[in-house]
Symmetry: C2
Subunit: 239 residues, 2 copies
């Protein structure tokens, strides 16, 4: 279980010519075990997205105690990735396939004045937002839907049906609104596309009825803007 | 009035071969006014120290409206410095000499687990701290004292007597302790030396009586460690 500040990374997934969280961790675990390691995470996070409790697993023949691995890794990696806990799991455990649900938060600073110390961890929205309309949008998301309208343009053709278990807003506290989503899974960019569209609706660029139509249209060309990555946190993965 | 994240800067004061906040601001104001600008701040902050409301002033013959200057500067400087307000003041106003008191906060995360997202803005102290003893230390600081015991070794021989108006601790909230100090002025490194010494006392490395003796000794060799810069915030300057 690990947390990371996504600001300095090109997301979770290993790729050519870019520093990713997966790559850094695989390299350092490899240094400790002497093996070539392949990490499986509960899911990718995109460039700039943060995690409070990402879950990943790997197989090893090493006899290093999990807690020694945790401490060793934390001394080898830079401070923007932190291994919170490590434990031995059954050989057939799979961080992604075994996840029952995931919780994401999206943080918005909704006030005229920016806040310097939140700039890497919130989306600053100056325009006043209609809370009642936004609550109404989120209520529409509960239950099982084809979320194609909110998937990213480049995403693969896997099953776009997901079950939304929770979608609500906490706050505001000093202008900070925290959107919280729990679902049995999320499509690529789904949270950011939902948040961007809900915020536009809250600015009265559209009505609740139009939001409802977008969701049911399954047409990704109808949705609003994609909220920027720095407000998004993977909070928890449930098994 | 400006806020800044001190993490990327070698403090406030202009110096050779290092990027400082004063230098960045003087350069950008100079670009806007076409003059060579000399900024006067309420006081220096050291490398890595943050400000929520630093105050500075300068003289200019430019006719730029203060609010245009503010907006222009915010578009010219990077996101880790933010000009919050700008206004015209009497020609004899002096940010440093006219300050009646200053408020500093020092933030400590006091729990076993680190918190990744606070790492640049707190001092992480794992060892449990005796709150009652620390409150006792801070109570000693109230009033007028010669604070030489807590000044930095390299500081000049200006008058070391200051009047402490407030010194207390808020929290803990999720392990976060916020030390707050208000005084008519602070010696160089005074807050960090006080906090380091109070924390050591709170770890029961010494007793309250010894803390009292250190304060009255005026001997900077007797004080404890200097707390690291990233927990320190200049909160307010009162005029």
């Amino acid at each position: 279980v690990l947390s990371y500040d996504g600001g300095a990374y090109h997301g979770w997934q290993r790729q050519e010519n870019a520093v990713t969280i997966q790559q850094v961790l695989e390299e350092k675990i490899g240094l400790m075990t002497g093996e070539k390691i392949r990490l499986i995470a509960s899911g990718r996070t995109d460039a700039g997205v943060h995690a409070l409790n990402q879950v990943c697993n790997f197989q090893t023949r090493s006899r290093i105690e999990p807690d020694s691995l945790r401490r060793g890794l934390n001394s080898l990696i830079s401070g923007d990735i932190h291994v919170k806990t490590a434990e031995t799991v059954p050989l057939d455990f799979h961080s992604r396939y075994d996840a029952r649900s995931k919780v994401y938060e999206y943080r918005i600073l909704n006030r005229a004045e920016p806040e310097l110390f939140l700039r890497h961890y919130t989306w600053h929205v100056r325009h006043p937002l209609d809370r009642e309309v936004m609550d109404g949008c989120l209520a529409e998301l509960y239950g099982t839907h084809d979320f194609s309208a909110f998937r990213s343009s480049g995403s693969s053709n896997r099953n776009p049906v997901r079950r939304m278990i929770r979608a609500d807003i906490q706050g505001p506290e000093n202008g900070l609104l925290v959107f919280r989503f729990e679902a049995d899974g999320f499509l690529r960019h789904m949270v950011r596309n939902v948040v961007g569209t809900v915020v536009e609706t809250g600015m009265e660029k559209r009505g609740l009825q139009e939001f409802r139509e977008i969701l049911h249209s399954r047409d990704r060309c109808r949705a609003g803007i994609k909220a920027p990555p720095q407000g998004l946190f993977l909070v928890e993965v449930k098994y």
